[in-house]
Protein backbone atom coordinates (compact mmCIF):
# COMPACT_ATOMS: atom_id res chain seq x y z
CA UNK A 1 0.00 0.00 0.00
CA UNK A 2 1.37 3.44 -0.93
CA UNK A 3 1.94 6.14 1.68
CA UNK A 4 -0.84 8.24 0.17
CA UNK A 5 -3.28 5.34 0.54
CA UNK A 6 -2.16 4.69 4.10
CA UNK A 7 -2.68 8.37 4.89
CA UNK A 8 -6.27 8.13 3.73
CA UNK A 9 -6.91 5.69 6.56
CA UNK A 10 -4.36 6.65 9.19
CA UNK A 11 -5.03 10.37 9.42
CA UNK A 12 -8.83 10.41 9.60
CA UNK A 13 -8.78 7.50 12.03
CA UNK A 14 -6.15 9.13 14.21
CA UNK A 15 -7.89 12.48 14.26
CA UNK A 16 -11.25 10.88 15.03
CA UNK A 17 -9.81 8.82 17.88
CA UNK A 18 -8.34 11.93 19.50
CA UNK A 19 -11.29 14.19 18.71
CA UNK A 20 -9.17 16.56 16.65
CA UNK A 21 -10.88 18.48 13.87
CA UNK A 22 -9.15 19.43 10.64
CA UNK A 23 -10.27 21.35 7.58
CA UNK A 24 -9.51 20.33 4.01
CA UNK A 25 -6.33 22.35 3.76
CA UNK A 26 -5.01 21.00 7.05
CA UNK A 27 -5.84 17.47 5.89
CA UNK A 28 -3.93 18.05 2.68
CA UNK A 29 -0.91 19.23 4.68
CA UNK A 30 -1.19 16.23 6.98
CA UNK A 31 -1.38 13.85 4.04
CA UNK A 32 1.76 15.42 2.57
CA UNK A 33 3.53 15.23 5.93
CA UNK A 34 2.52 11.60 6.31
CA UNK A 35 3.84 10.74 2.88
CA UNK A 36 7.12 12.41 3.77
CA UNK A 37 7.60 11.15 7.34
CA UNK A 38 5.94 7.78 7.51
CA UNK A 39 8.42 5.77 5.42
CA UNK A 40 11.24 7.18 7.54
CA UNK A 41 9.34 6.39 10.73
CA UNK A 42 8.88 2.80 9.56
CA UNK A 43 12.60 2.57 8.78
CA UNK A 44 13.36 3.91 12.24
CA UNK A 45 11.05 1.40 13.89
CA UNK A 46 12.61 -1.45 11.93
CA UNK A 47 16.09 -0.87 13.41
CA UNK A 48 17.08 -3.54 15.89
CA UNK A 49 17.83 -1.62 19.08
CA UNK A 50 16.84 -4.29 21.55
CA UNK A 51 20.32 -4.35 23.07
CA UNK A 52 20.50 -0.57 23.44
CA UNK A 53 19.70 0.51 26.96
CA UNK A 54 18.54 4.09 26.62
CA UNK A 55 20.10 6.64 28.94
CA UNK A 56 17.83 7.62 31.79
CA UNK A 57 17.52 11.41 31.82
CA UNK A 58 20.57 11.82 29.58
CA UNK A 59 22.83 14.77 30.25
CA UNK A 60 23.13 16.03 26.69
CA UNK A 61 25.83 18.51 27.64
CA UNK A 62 28.24 15.61 28.07
CA UNK A 63 29.24 12.37 26.49
CA UNK A 64 27.15 9.42 27.66
CA UNK A 65 28.48 7.69 30.75
Amino acid sequence: MEASERAEEFIPAGLASLGIEADEVELAVMNAAHGMFWPAILDLLSLDTVEVVPERNPDLSQAPQ
Binding site: A22, V29, D43, L47, T49, V52, P54, L60, Q62, A63
Partner: protein, 458 residues
Amino acid sequence: MSALDLSLRGQATAIAGGDVDPGELLDEALARIDQRNPAINAVVETFPERSGEMLAAAPPGPLHGVPIVVKDEWPLPWRAQRFGAAELLAPTAPGESGPYRALRDAGATIVGVGNMHELGAGSTGNVSVYGPARNPWDTERCPGGSSSGPAAAVAARLVAGAVGADGLGSVRFPAAYCGLTGLKPTFGRSAMAGHHMAATTTLIVSGPLCADAADCRLLGSALFGEGLTAGDASGLRIGVIRDPVSEDVAPEVREACEAAIEALRAETGGEVREVSLPDLPAATMAAILLINGESLNGVTPERLNDLNPEVSPIARGFIKYRALLPASAIVQSARIRTLTRRRLVDLFEEVDVLAWPTIPAVAPPLESPLVELPSGTHTADQANVRGAALANLTGIPSISVPVGLGTGDLPIALQLGAAWGRDELLLDAAEALERANDRRWVEALPPLARAATEAAET
Protein backbone atom coordinates in the same frame (compact mmCIF):
# COMPACT_ATOMS: atom_id res chain seq x y z
CA MET B 1 32.95 54.19 7.01
CA SER B 2 30.27 53.91 9.66
CA ALA B 3 31.20 52.23 12.93
CA LEU B 4 28.33 49.88 12.15
CA ASP B 5 30.52 48.36 9.45
CA LEU B 6 33.13 47.37 12.00
CA SER B 7 33.12 43.84 13.32
CA LEU B 8 31.34 43.15 16.59
CA ARG B 9 34.67 43.16 18.43
CA GLY B 10 35.71 46.26 16.50
CA GLN B 11 32.62 48.09 17.69
CA ALA B 12 33.20 46.96 21.27
CA THR B 13 36.85 48.01 21.15
CA ALA B 14 36.07 51.38 19.56
CA ILE B 15 33.46 52.15 22.22
CA ALA B 16 35.71 51.02 25.07
CA GLY B 17 38.51 53.17 23.68
CA GLY B 18 36.32 56.23 23.42
CA ASP B 19 36.56 56.34 19.64
CA VAL B 20 32.85 55.70 19.08
CA ASP B 21 29.97 57.11 21.07
CA PRO B 22 27.54 54.27 21.85
CA GLY B 23 24.55 56.61 21.73
CA GLU B 24 25.49 57.68 18.22
CA LEU B 25 26.05 54.05 17.26
CA LEU B 26 22.57 53.15 18.47
CA ASP B 27 21.09 56.02 16.44
CA GLU B 28 23.04 54.85 13.40
CA ALA B 29 21.78 51.30 13.83
CA LEU B 30 18.18 52.47 14.06
CA ALA B 31 18.64 54.69 10.99
CA ARG B 32 20.20 51.82 9.05
CA ILE B 33 17.33 49.53 9.99
CA ASP B 34 14.94 52.18 8.64
CA GLN B 35 16.98 52.42 5.47
CA ARG B 36 17.82 48.81 4.62
CA ASN B 37 15.26 46.69 6.44
CA PRO B 38 12.30 47.29 4.08
CA ALA B 39 14.14 45.24 1.43
CA ILE B 40 14.74 42.24 3.70
CA ASN B 41 12.14 42.34 6.52
CA ALA B 42 14.78 41.08 8.94
CA VAL B 43 13.85 43.24 11.92
CA VAL B 44 10.18 43.11 12.87
CA GLU B 45 10.21 45.54 15.76
CA THR B 46 12.41 48.27 17.18
CA PHE B 47 11.91 50.10 20.48
CA PRO B 48 14.24 53.10 20.54
CA GLU B 49 13.17 54.20 24.00
CA ARG B 50 13.82 50.77 25.53
CA SER B 51 17.11 50.46 23.70
CA GLY B 52 18.12 53.87 25.00
CA GLU B 53 17.22 52.86 28.54
CA MET B 54 19.24 49.67 28.18
CA LEU B 55 22.23 51.66 26.97
CA ALA B 56 21.90 54.21 29.77
CA ALA B 57 22.00 51.42 32.35
CA ALA B 58 24.63 49.32 30.57
CA PRO B 59 27.55 48.11 32.69
CA PRO B 60 31.08 48.34 31.28
CA GLY B 61 30.99 44.80 29.94
CA PRO B 62 32.66 43.24 26.89
CA LEU B 63 29.79 44.30 24.62
CA HIS B 64 29.21 47.71 26.18
CA GLY B 65 27.06 49.81 23.86
CA VAL B 66 27.11 47.33 20.97
CA PRO B 67 23.73 46.96 19.18
CA ILE B 68 22.39 43.41 18.90
CA VAL B 69 19.29 41.87 17.30
CA VAL B 70 17.47 39.09 19.16
CA LYS B 71 15.29 36.47 17.48
CA ASP B 72 11.52 36.59 18.06
CA GLU B 73 11.92 33.42 20.10
CA TRP B 74 13.05 35.11 23.30
CA PRO B 75 10.95 37.24 25.63
CA LEU B 76 12.22 40.69 26.58
CA PRO B 77 11.10 42.61 29.67
CA TRP B 78 8.95 44.81 27.47
CA ARG B 79 7.83 42.28 24.86
CA ALA B 80 6.63 38.67 24.73
CA GLN B 81 8.01 36.55 21.93
CA ARG B 82 5.64 35.76 19.06
CA PHE B 83 7.72 32.92 17.58
CA GLY B 84 6.98 34.25 14.12
CA ALA B 85 3.36 33.20 14.50
CA ALA B 86 -0.11 34.54 15.11
CA GLU B 87 -0.27 32.31 18.16
CA LEU B 88 1.92 29.97 20.18
CA LEU B 89 0.76 26.72 21.71
CA ALA B 90 2.43 27.74 24.98
CA PRO B 91 1.50 30.82 27.01
CA THR B 92 3.96 33.70 26.72
CA ALA B 93 4.62 36.92 28.57
CA PRO B 94 7.25 39.64 28.62
CA GLY B 95 10.20 38.72 30.80
CA GLU B 96 13.94 38.54 31.31
CA SER B 97 15.01 35.63 29.13
CA GLY B 98 18.45 34.13 29.49
CA PRO B 99 19.77 35.78 26.31
CA TYR B 100 18.36 39.14 27.46
CA ARG B 101 20.13 38.87 30.81
CA ALA B 102 23.35 37.71 29.16
CA LEU B 103 23.34 40.64 26.75
CA ARG B 104 22.37 43.14 29.44
CA ASP B 105 25.10 41.93 31.78
CA ALA B 106 27.65 42.17 28.94
CA GLY B 107 26.59 45.78 28.37
CA ALA B 108 24.98 45.22 24.95
CA THR B 109 22.01 47.15 23.59
CA ILE B 110 19.13 45.18 22.10
CA VAL B 111 18.15 47.28 19.11
CA GLY B 112 15.44 45.11 17.58
CA VAL B 113 13.69 41.78 17.27
CA GLY B 114 14.56 39.51 14.37
CA ASN B 115 11.99 37.82 12.14
CA MET B 116 11.79 34.02 12.14
CA HIS B 117 10.16 31.11 10.36
CA GLU B 118 6.69 30.55 11.79
CA LEU B 119 6.83 28.51 15.02
CA GLY B 120 10.46 27.68 14.28
CA ALA B 121 9.22 24.98 11.96
CA GLY B 122 11.22 25.58 8.79
CA SER B 123 14.74 25.93 7.43
CA THR B 124 13.88 28.61 4.87
CA GLY B 125 12.34 31.65 6.61
CA ASN B 126 9.75 32.10 3.88
CA VAL B 127 6.75 31.74 6.22
CA SER B 128 6.17 34.17 9.08
CA VAL B 129 3.31 36.14 10.56
CA TYR B 130 5.38 39.21 9.72
CA GLY B 131 5.87 38.13 6.11
CA PRO B 132 9.01 36.40 4.88
CA ALA B 133 12.47 37.66 5.69
CA ARG B 134 14.60 38.02 2.57
CA ASN B 135 18.18 37.11 1.83
CA PRO B 136 20.47 40.17 1.45
CA TRP B 137 22.44 38.24 -1.19
CA ASP B 138 19.32 38.03 -3.34
CA THR B 139 16.07 39.35 -1.93
CA GLU B 140 14.05 36.83 -3.96
CA ARG B 141 15.83 34.00 -2.13
CA CYS B 142 15.27 32.40 1.26
CA PRO B 143 17.44 33.72 4.09
CA GLY B 144 17.27 30.38 5.90
CA GLY B 145 15.43 29.54 9.06
CA SER B 146 14.26 29.50 11.50
CA SER B 147 16.57 32.35 12.67
CA SER B 148 15.91 34.15 9.38
CA GLY B 149 15.77 37.74 10.62
CA PRO B 150 18.86 37.63 12.84
CA ALA B 151 20.91 36.24 9.95
CA ALA B 152 19.56 38.66 7.35
CA ALA B 153 20.14 41.56 9.77
CA VAL B 154 23.80 40.68 10.27
CA ALA B 155 24.39 39.92 6.59
CA ALA B 156 22.93 43.32 5.64
CA ARG B 157 25.12 44.89 8.34
CA LEU B 158 22.18 46.31 10.27
CA VAL B 159 24.08 44.97 13.27
CA ALA B 160 27.27 42.97 13.71
CA GLY B 161 25.79 40.29 15.91
CA ALA B 162 22.48 38.57 16.57
CA VAL B 163 21.13 35.88 18.86
CA GLY B 164 19.26 32.97 17.32
CA ALA B 165 18.07 29.59 18.50
CA ASP B 166 18.86 26.16 17.06
CA GLY B 167 16.61 23.15 17.63
CA LEU B 168 17.18 21.43 14.30
CA GLY B 169 19.69 23.63 12.46
CA SER B 170 17.97 26.97 12.97
CA VAL B 171 21.18 28.93 13.55
CA ARG B 172 23.31 27.03 11.03
CA PHE B 173 20.93 27.10 8.03
CA PRO B 174 20.46 30.89 7.99
CA ALA B 175 24.15 31.39 8.69
CA ALA B 176 24.89 29.25 5.64
CA TYR B 177 22.32 30.87 3.34
CA CYS B 178 23.42 34.38 4.36
CA GLY B 179 27.20 33.84 4.31
CA LEU B 180 27.70 34.13 8.07
CA THR B 181 29.28 32.14 10.87
CA GLY B 182 26.76 30.53 13.20
CA LEU B 183 27.43 28.44 16.29
CA LYS B 184 25.09 25.79 17.68
CA PRO B 185 26.56 25.37 21.17
CA THR B 186 26.82 22.19 23.19
CA PHE B 187 23.38 21.53 24.66
CA GLY B 188 22.90 23.37 27.93
CA ARG B 189 25.98 25.57 27.63
CA SER B 190 24.30 28.76 26.38
CA ALA B 191 21.56 30.88 27.96
CA MET B 192 18.16 29.26 27.62
CA ALA B 193 16.03 30.58 30.49
CA GLY B 194 12.73 32.11 29.52
CA HIS B 195 12.31 30.07 26.36
CA HIS B 196 8.78 28.72 26.22
CA MET B 197 10.21 25.19 25.87
CA ALA B 198 13.13 25.62 28.28
CA ALA B 199 11.75 23.05 30.70
CA THR B 200 10.96 20.41 28.09
CA THR B 201 13.37 20.67 25.21
CA THR B 202 16.33 18.36 24.85
CA LEU B 203 17.38 19.85 21.52
CA ILE B 204 17.10 23.66 21.43
CA VAL B 205 19.94 26.04 22.32
CA SER B 206 20.60 29.75 21.88
CA GLY B 207 23.49 30.64 19.62
CA PRO B 208 25.35 33.56 18.02
CA LEU B 209 25.20 34.65 14.38
CA CYS B 210 28.04 36.93 13.27
CA ALA B 211 30.25 37.58 10.28
CA ASP B 212 33.16 35.54 11.60
CA ALA B 213 34.31 33.19 14.31
CA ALA B 214 36.01 35.81 16.49
CA ASP B 215 32.74 37.72 16.72
CA CYS B 216 30.88 34.48 17.50
CA ARG B 217 33.46 33.89 20.24
CA LEU B 218 32.71 37.30 21.75
CA LEU B 219 28.92 37.05 21.53
CA GLY B 220 29.04 33.38 22.47
CA SER B 221 31.03 34.21 25.60
CA ALA B 222 28.18 36.48 26.69
CA LEU B 223 25.58 33.77 25.99
CA PHE B 224 27.67 31.09 27.71
CA GLY B 225 28.46 33.29 30.70
CA GLU B 226 32.11 32.28 30.41
CA GLY B 227 35.00 33.29 28.23
CA LEU B 228 35.42 31.14 25.13
CA THR B 229 39.18 31.38 25.00
CA ALA B 230 41.08 31.08 21.76
CA GLY B 231 43.22 27.99 21.39
CA ASP B 232 45.17 26.18 18.76
CA ALA B 233 43.74 23.89 16.11
CA SER B 234 47.14 22.56 15.10
CA GLY B 235 47.19 18.98 13.96
CA LEU B 236 43.43 18.93 13.54
CA ARG B 237 42.07 15.49 12.74
CA ILE B 238 39.15 16.07 10.37
CA GLY B 239 36.61 13.33 9.89
CA VAL B 240 34.51 13.05 6.76
CA ILE B 241 31.59 10.69 6.25
CA ARG B 242 30.98 9.33 2.79
CA ASP B 243 27.55 7.76 2.56
CA PRO B 244 24.64 8.19 0.15
CA VAL B 245 23.06 10.97 2.20
CA SER B 246 26.14 13.07 2.88
CA GLU B 247 27.18 12.70 -0.76
CA ASP B 248 23.78 13.91 -2.01
CA VAL B 249 24.71 17.58 -2.38
CA ALA B 250 24.91 19.92 -5.37
CA PRO B 251 28.24 19.53 -7.20
CA GLU B 252 29.25 23.14 -6.55
CA VAL B 253 28.63 22.66 -2.81
CA ARG B 254 30.62 19.45 -2.77
CA GLU B 255 33.56 21.08 -4.58
CA ALA B 256 33.63 24.14 -2.31
CA CYS B 257 33.39 22.04 0.86
CA GLU B 258 36.04 19.58 -0.25
CA ALA B 259 38.35 22.49 -1.07
CA ALA B 260 37.65 24.00 2.33
CA ILE B 261 38.37 20.73 4.13
CA GLU B 262 41.68 20.45 2.31
CA ALA B 263 42.47 24.10 3.09
CA LEU B 264 41.68 23.51 6.77
CA ARG B 265 43.87 20.42 6.81
CA ALA B 266 46.76 22.30 5.26
CA GLU B 267 46.35 25.35 7.53
CA THR B 268 46.32 23.25 10.70
CA GLY B 269 48.90 20.73 9.56
CA GLY B 270 46.31 18.11 10.29
CA GLU B 271 44.85 15.16 8.50
CA VAL B 272 41.61 14.05 6.90
CA ARG B 273 40.21 10.66 7.84
CA GLU B 274 37.22 8.90 6.38
CA VAL B 275 34.95 7.74 9.17
CA SER B 276 31.56 6.08 9.37
CA LEU B 277 28.49 6.78 11.43
CA PRO B 278 25.80 4.21 10.69
CA ASP B 279 22.07 4.87 10.66
CA LEU B 280 22.30 8.63 10.07
CA PRO B 281 18.83 8.76 8.43
CA ALA B 282 17.37 7.16 11.55
CA ALA B 283 19.22 9.67 13.74
CA THR B 284 17.74 12.50 11.67
CA MET B 285 14.24 11.09 12.02
CA ALA B 286 14.75 10.55 15.74
CA ALA B 287 15.62 14.23 16.19
CA ILE B 288 12.56 15.27 14.18
CA LEU B 289 10.29 13.04 16.23
CA LEU B 290 11.71 14.19 19.54
CA ILE B 291 11.44 17.91 18.82
CA ASN B 292 7.94 17.49 17.44
CA GLY B 293 6.88 15.48 20.47
CA GLU B 294 8.44 17.94 22.90
CA SER B 295 6.74 20.87 21.19
CA LEU B 296 3.33 19.37 21.95
CA ASN B 297 4.05 19.09 25.65
CA GLY B 298 0.80 19.61 27.53
CA VAL B 299 -1.27 20.46 24.46
CA THR B 300 -4.73 18.90 24.48
CA PRO B 301 -6.86 17.93 21.49
CA GLU B 302 -9.24 20.68 22.54
CA ARG B 303 -6.43 23.18 22.31
CA LEU B 304 -5.60 21.93 18.82
CA ASN B 305 -9.21 22.48 17.82
CA ASP B 306 -8.92 26.07 18.98
CA LEU B 307 -5.90 27.16 16.96
CA ASN B 308 -5.91 30.74 15.78
CA PRO B 309 -7.02 30.73 12.13
CA GLU B 310 -4.28 33.26 11.42
CA VAL B 311 -1.70 30.52 12.01
CA SER B 312 -0.74 29.33 8.52
CA PRO B 313 -2.54 26.24 7.19
CA ILE B 314 0.82 24.52 6.80
CA ALA B 315 1.64 25.03 10.45
CA ARG B 316 -1.85 24.02 11.58
CA GLY B 317 -1.66 20.82 9.58
CA PHE B 318 1.80 19.96 10.86
CA ILE B 319 0.87 20.67 14.47
CA LYS B 320 -2.12 18.36 14.25
CA TYR B 321 -0.05 15.69 12.51
CA ARG B 322 2.39 15.78 15.42
CA ALA B 323 -0.43 14.61 17.70
CA LEU B 324 -0.65 11.41 15.66
CA LEU B 325 3.00 10.41 15.94
CA PRO B 326 3.19 6.94 17.52
CA ALA B 327 4.63 6.62 21.00
CA SER B 328 6.63 3.60 19.85
CA ALA B 329 8.55 5.83 17.46
CA ILE B 330 9.30 8.34 20.22
CA VAL B 331 10.62 5.54 22.46
CA GLN B 332 12.68 4.17 19.60
CA SER B 333 14.05 7.67 19.03
CA ALA B 334 15.40 7.71 22.58
CA ARG B 335 17.19 4.44 21.92
CA ILE B 336 18.63 5.75 18.67
CA ARG B 337 19.77 8.89 20.50
CA THR B 338 21.71 6.77 22.99
CA LEU B 339 23.11 4.56 20.24
CA THR B 340 24.26 7.59 18.22
CA ARG B 341 25.78 9.32 21.23
CA ARG B 342 27.79 6.21 22.06
CA ARG B 343 28.94 5.89 18.48
CA LEU B 344 30.06 9.54 18.57
CA VAL B 345 32.16 8.87 21.67
CA ASP B 346 34.09 6.29 19.68
CA LEU B 347 34.24 8.48 16.60
CA PHE B 348 35.67 11.45 18.52
CA GLU B 349 38.49 9.20 19.70
CA GLU B 350 39.53 9.00 16.05
CA VAL B 351 38.97 12.61 14.94
CA ASP B 352 38.66 16.07 16.49
CA VAL B 353 35.98 17.40 14.18
CA LEU B 354 33.48 16.06 11.69
CA ALA B 355 33.11 18.10 8.49
CA TRP B 356 30.26 18.14 5.99
CA PRO B 357 28.23 20.72 4.03
CA THR B 358 25.82 22.76 6.15
CA ILE B 359 23.34 23.01 3.30
CA PRO B 360 23.25 20.73 0.26
CA ALA B 361 22.42 23.56 -2.15
CA VAL B 362 22.44 27.37 -2.15
CA ALA B 363 19.44 29.37 -0.95
CA PRO B 364 16.30 28.49 -2.94
CA PRO B 365 13.69 30.98 -4.17
CA LEU B 366 11.26 32.30 -1.58
CA GLU B 367 8.32 31.46 -3.80
CA SER B 368 9.35 27.85 -4.27
CA PRO B 369 11.89 26.60 -1.73
CA LEU B 370 12.99 23.51 -3.63
CA VAL B 371 16.54 22.32 -4.21
CA GLU B 372 18.01 20.19 -6.99
CA LEU B 373 20.29 17.44 -5.74
CA PRO B 374 21.83 14.43 -7.48
CA SER B 375 18.97 12.33 -6.08
CA GLY B 376 16.33 14.67 -7.52
CA THR B 377 14.20 17.61 -6.43
CA HIS B 378 13.52 18.00 -2.72
CA THR B 379 11.97 20.59 -0.47
CA ALA B 380 14.76 22.58 1.16
CA ASP B 381 13.47 21.50 4.58
CA GLN B 382 13.75 17.80 3.71
CA ALA B 383 17.23 18.22 2.31
CA ASN B 384 18.62 20.58 4.93
CA VAL B 385 17.61 18.70 8.04
CA ARG B 386 19.76 15.73 7.05
CA GLY B 387 22.89 17.75 7.76
CA ALA B 388 21.82 19.39 10.99
CA ALA B 389 19.88 16.98 13.16
CA LEU B 390 22.86 14.99 14.43
CA ALA B 391 24.11 17.83 16.63
CA ASN B 392 20.70 18.49 18.16
CA LEU B 393 19.94 14.83 18.74
CA THR B 394 23.21 14.14 20.52
CA GLY B 395 23.96 17.52 22.15
CA ILE B 396 27.32 18.11 20.44
CA PRO B 397 28.32 21.60 19.25
CA SER B 398 28.42 22.48 15.59
CA ILE B 399 29.42 25.53 13.59
CA SER B 400 28.65 26.73 10.06
CA VAL B 401 31.37 28.64 8.24
CA PRO B 402 31.10 30.33 4.82
CA VAL B 403 33.43 28.73 2.28
CA GLY B 404 32.43 30.10 -1.10
CA LEU B 405 29.82 31.49 -3.45
CA GLY B 406 27.84 29.33 -5.82
CA THR B 407 25.09 29.79 -8.37
CA GLY B 408 23.81 33.35 -8.37
CA ASP B 409 26.67 34.42 -6.10
CA LEU B 410 24.88 32.76 -3.20
CA PRO B 411 26.86 31.52 -0.17
CA ILE B 412 28.03 27.95 0.40
CA ALA B 413 28.97 26.76 3.89
CA LEU B 414 30.89 24.02 5.63
CA GLN B 415 29.73 22.59 8.94
CA LEU B 416 32.07 21.32 11.63
CA GLY B 417 30.97 19.28 14.62
CA ALA B 418 33.01 18.37 17.70
CA ALA B 419 32.65 16.46 20.92
CA TRP B 420 30.60 17.78 23.84
CA GLY B 421 32.06 20.93 25.37
CA ARG B 422 34.55 21.52 22.57
CA ASP B 423 32.80 24.65 21.26
CA GLU B 424 36.09 26.52 21.57
CA LEU B 425 37.80 24.03 19.26
CA LEU B 426 35.13 24.69 16.63
CA LEU B 427 35.81 28.43 16.85
CA ASP B 428 39.56 27.77 16.61
CA ALA B 429 39.01 25.58 13.55
CA ALA B 430 36.71 28.16 11.96
CA GLU B 431 39.36 30.83 12.46
CA ALA B 432 41.98 28.55 10.91
CA LEU B 433 39.70 28.09 7.91
CA GLU B 434 39.25 31.86 7.65
CA ARG B 435 43.03 32.28 7.60
CA ALA B 436 43.37 29.58 4.98
CA ASN B 437 40.93 31.51 2.78
CA ASP B 438 42.53 34.89 3.53
CA ARG B 439 39.22 35.78 5.19
CA ARG B 440 37.71 36.12 1.73
CA TRP B 441 34.35 34.58 2.52
CA VAL B 442 33.76 36.08 5.96
CA GLU B 443 34.48 39.54 4.60
CA ALA B 444 32.34 39.15 1.46
CA LEU B 445 29.41 41.55 1.50
CA PRO B 446 26.01 40.86 -0.08
CA PRO B 447 24.86 43.30 -2.77
CA LEU B 448 22.50 45.08 -0.40
CA ALA B 449 25.28 46.03 2.03
CA ARG B 450 27.93 46.47 -0.65
CA ALA B 451 25.86 48.93 -2.69
CA ALA B 452 24.97 50.98 0.37
CA THR B 453 28.57 51.07 1.56
CA GLU B 454 29.85 52.13 -1.86
CA ALA B 455 27.18 54.82 -2.12
CA ALA B 456 28.16 56.16 1.30
CA GLU B 457 31.82 56.32 0.30
CA THR B 458 31.22 58.30 -2.93
